[in-house]
Amino acid sequence: MAQRSFMAELSKHSQDDNLEAPPRLVSAFKKLPDEQIFVPPSIDETVVMAARRRLTSQLLPRSRWFRWRLWGAATALIVAAAILTRLSTNRPAPLPNQAAFIPGDLNHDGRVDILDAFTLAKQLKSGPQLDLRLDINGDGIVDERDVAIIAARAVRLEKGGRS
């Protein structure tokens, strides 16, 4: 069995060797006269023009699609920019010279303490107060009751920690 396969392999290799042509023969093949067929320009033109028509027409739909895609992307960008701008302009900006007012913080030191109660009491002595931000209890009048609330709040805050 082994000898048979060996012989088959040997036969195959020897057959492959027989597929090579000697250099002289290959040279003779190369020297065989070519059939010189004159190709008229009309044939060349027919083929070339067909190629230009077909390949150009294949290109145009792609470029048109590309242009639409580009326009679409540009439009989307513009719309997105407009939305972002609108959103940013809708956010109310803090008014100039308008600090955040803490109810009861009359002296604007950022906390409500007994000093604020003294300040309101002093302002009440000079006359009625019309700034309704000082109407701590919400009854529409700024009076001693609002002073009492500020004082009570100040004491509570001092007991419980700083505001």
Binding site: R24, F29, K30, I43, D44, R54, L55
Partner: protein
């Protein structure tokens, strides 16, 4: 030559693969390069099959129009000749059939048998040509594809759509004929 159409092959060194890629992108100039690169080979091959100038030109045109329809999307997986060869062969067979039908209406039936036969070798032909002419078309074609067109055995098998073993067998038998013929055995001498 029409000023609009000029052979471009000699100036373009791109590989067939690069040209195919360019054609798939819509570059008609790349197709022109490929056309002029293979035009003469295709028309000579067509003449080998048809033995007729006009028919071989028709086959040339039809072959490249057929090739053009493969784009976009054509993928080159081997030597371009392996793709073009069967197209040329089949179109040449059609051209021969048309020629036979035409001749049957114009000439006596007795001449049809000679119309498709290879040309009778003349005394001007070399010994090699004479021996080749005596081979069967299948054997002769394998030898020509191998030693003139430069295709390897696998490419010949793909082109002719035959098994590789059949290519080897025909090549072996063809060479054996040349080796044994007194007119060509000198090529095998040392």
């Amino acid at each position: 030559m029409d000023a609009r159409v000029q052979p471009k092959d000699n100036l373009d060194t791109r590989s067939d693969l690069d040209l195919i890629a360019a054609i798939n992108r819509g570059d008609s100039g790349a197709f022109e390069v490929l056309y002029f690169r293979y035009r003469d080979w295709v028309v000579r091959l067509a003449y080998r099959f048809t033995r007729d100038d006009h028919a071989s030109l028709d086959v040339l045109q039809e072959t490249f129009l057929y090739f053009l329809k493969k784009f976009p999307g054509f993928r080159l997986t081997a030597n371009l000749k392996t793709f073009l060869y069967p197209a040329v062969r089949n179109l040449s067979a059609c051209a021969r059939e048309k020629s036979q039908r035409y001749q049957a209406t114009e000439i006596e039936l007795g001449t049809i048998e000679n119309a498709t036969a290879p040309e009778s070798p003349s005394s001007d032909l070399s010994d090699l040509q004479l021996v080749l002419a005596a081979l069967s078309e299948d054997h002769r074609e394998v030898l020509l594809l191998r030693f003139i067109d430069g295709l390897n055995l696998l490419e010949i098998a793909q082109s002719m759509d035959i098994p590789l073993g059949t290519v080897k067998s025909r090549l072996h038998n063809g060479l054996q004929t040349l080796r044994n013929d007194p007119r060509t055995k000198e090529f095998f001498g040392r």
